[in-house]
């Protein structure tokens, strides 16, 4: 199988490069920051990893509350965590 080119994206303005097929949740974990803070300020990250728990929400290309475990990284994507 031919190797697919890597994907470049921004997470909170930090440029990172990941393999094709990487979820946004994984990319955020690579950066090592929480996906969001709860209303009481607690850090949140992926719990179920399959789109059920809503704990991994992040803003992706301007759309708030996206489940980052269900979205694959794309070239030029901009991700923001709270």
């Amino acid at each position: 199988m031919p190797e697919l080119p890597p994907v470049h994206l921004l997470i909170n303005d930090v440029a990172i490069t990941v393999d094709q097929g990487t979820t946004v949740a994984s990319a955020i974990l690579i950066v090592g920051i929480p996906m969001r803070l709860s209303v009481t300020g607690e850090p949140r990250g992926p719990l179920c990893g399959m789109g059920i728990c809503f704990e991994c929400r992040a803003t992706i290309d301007g759309a708030q509350h996206q489940r980052s475990c269900q979205v694959l990284c794309a070239e030029g994507m901009e991700v923001r965590t709270s």
């Binding site: 209303v39 759309a63 708030q64 509350h65």
Partner: protein
């Protein structure tokens, strides 16, 4: 077991809780009966809009008076009640509705309620997510929003702290000064206040109240998406209609950043099951006014019952069929707003004092003749 009280209140929604708070504040020995959770019925199903409305002079008087009581109480409400004076924007889609903006502004001014008239560009500035062009809007800055179950909880907690007693039982009957509960307890009082919304008909089938079902949607947190409570002026056509099912654009920003999306009105429904057809009609209406609202995540949808009377005014005061019974129900979609005013004028009436606004338009006796002839 038989106990005697100065007053027994049936129902601890926001109206019952407000009555309980008033009663104990006036030194009455007060019992409240509620089998379900405090503020768990129509109180929890509604939006929590503290709004001045002018369908009739009597409605304007009660909503305006009640709003002033909320403004006074707001200084001591706990944060959990999420009271916020965000104002209402009555949105005019076209020139015909803009005429209504001017008419409404004059009526409010005559009643001493300050408003501002916004033209299309001013409205776009105030609410950038609204579709363009729109004709304008009437801003009522004194209107507010709050979280009704917590408001009812606060009023009930205050009543209990001041000595009220809460019975977590179901009421089987109310008659001639006696309230019978489902554990055999009998509460005796010469003043029994029925504040159980549309469920009051289970105890008093002759009440002129019909259930009017409504749906709401709540979204995830999107702070700043809208800033005011937004209501279409076409809402009035919808709310006034006494028969047809209808939906109207009505969106409320919560202090949490969540949005409540309404509204629907439907007679004849017997359960609170969610109708996908109604929700679709409601959200399509919302999307016409707020084109990007469809991109937000909704997290819950539910329905509840308003207690509607034939003349759109609540039933406050003695029930002519039974000297011991007093009503505080029939508030339809305005129970959160008018709960405080209802409690105040009812208790003034009970104590033989002159209420701050005349109680006569709300007296249940206005329906007594039709009840007798029915």
């Amino acid at each position: 077991m038989s106990e005697t009280w100065d007053v027994v209140i049936v129902g601890a929604g926001i109206v019952g809780a407000a009555c309980a708070f008033q009663c104990v504040s006036r030194g009455m020995r007060t019992a409240v009966v509620e089998a379900k959770s405090i503020g768990g019925g129509a109180t929890a199903a509604g939006m929590g809009h503290i709004v001045v409305m002018d369908d009739s002079p009597a409605q304007l008087a009660l909503t305006h008076y009640s709003q002033s009581l909320w403004q006074h109480l707001a200084t001591v409400l706990p944060a959990s009640v999420e009271y916020e004076k965000c104002g209402t924007l009555w949105v005019a889609a076209d020139d015909e509705e803009m005429q209504e903006v001017h008419r409404k502004s004059e009526v409010y001014a005559a009643a001493g309620v300050a408003t501002e008239i916004l033209d299309g560009p001013m409205l776009a500035d105030a609410e950038p997510q609204l579709r363009r062009p729109l004709a304008g809007a009437l801003l009522v800055p004194s209107d507010a929003v709050l979280y009704p179950p917590c408001a009812a909880g606060y009023l009930m907690d205050e009543a209990l702290r001041l000595g009220a007693q809460l019975y977590r039982r179901k009421v089987l009957s109310v008659h001639s000064g006696e309230v019978r509960l489902d554990d055999g307890t009998q509460l005796n009082s010469t003043h029994i206040v029925i504040a159980s919304g549309a469920d009051a008909c289970d105890l008093l089938p002759a009440l002129p109240i019909k259930k009017r079902k409504g749906h709401l949607v709540i979204t995830d947190r999107y702070p700043g998406f809208v800033r005011h409570q937004l209501v279409e002026l076409g809402y009035l056509k919808s709310a006034h209609s006494s028969t047809a099912d209808s939906v109207a654009f009505n969106v409320q920003p919560r202090k949490t950043g969540q949005l409540l999306i309404g509204s629907s009105r439907q007679y004849g429904a017997e359960d609170t099951a969610v109708s996908q057809q109604t929700v679709a009609a409601m959200t399509e209406r919302a999307q016409w006014y707020l084109p990007k609202i469809g991109g937000l995540s909704a997290i819950r949808v539910w329905a509840g019952f308003r207690a509607a009377t034939p003349d759109k005014l609540p039933l406050i005061g003695p029930w002519p069929e039974d000297d011991s019974l007093f009503l505080a129900t029939g508030h339809e979609g305005l129970g959160i707003t008018t709960s405080l005013g209802t409690a105040s004028i009812l208790l003034d009436h009970l104590e033989g004092k002159s209420p701050s606004i005349p109680i006569s338009p709300y007296l249940p006796a206005r329906f007594a003749r039709s009840v007798v002839s029915a």
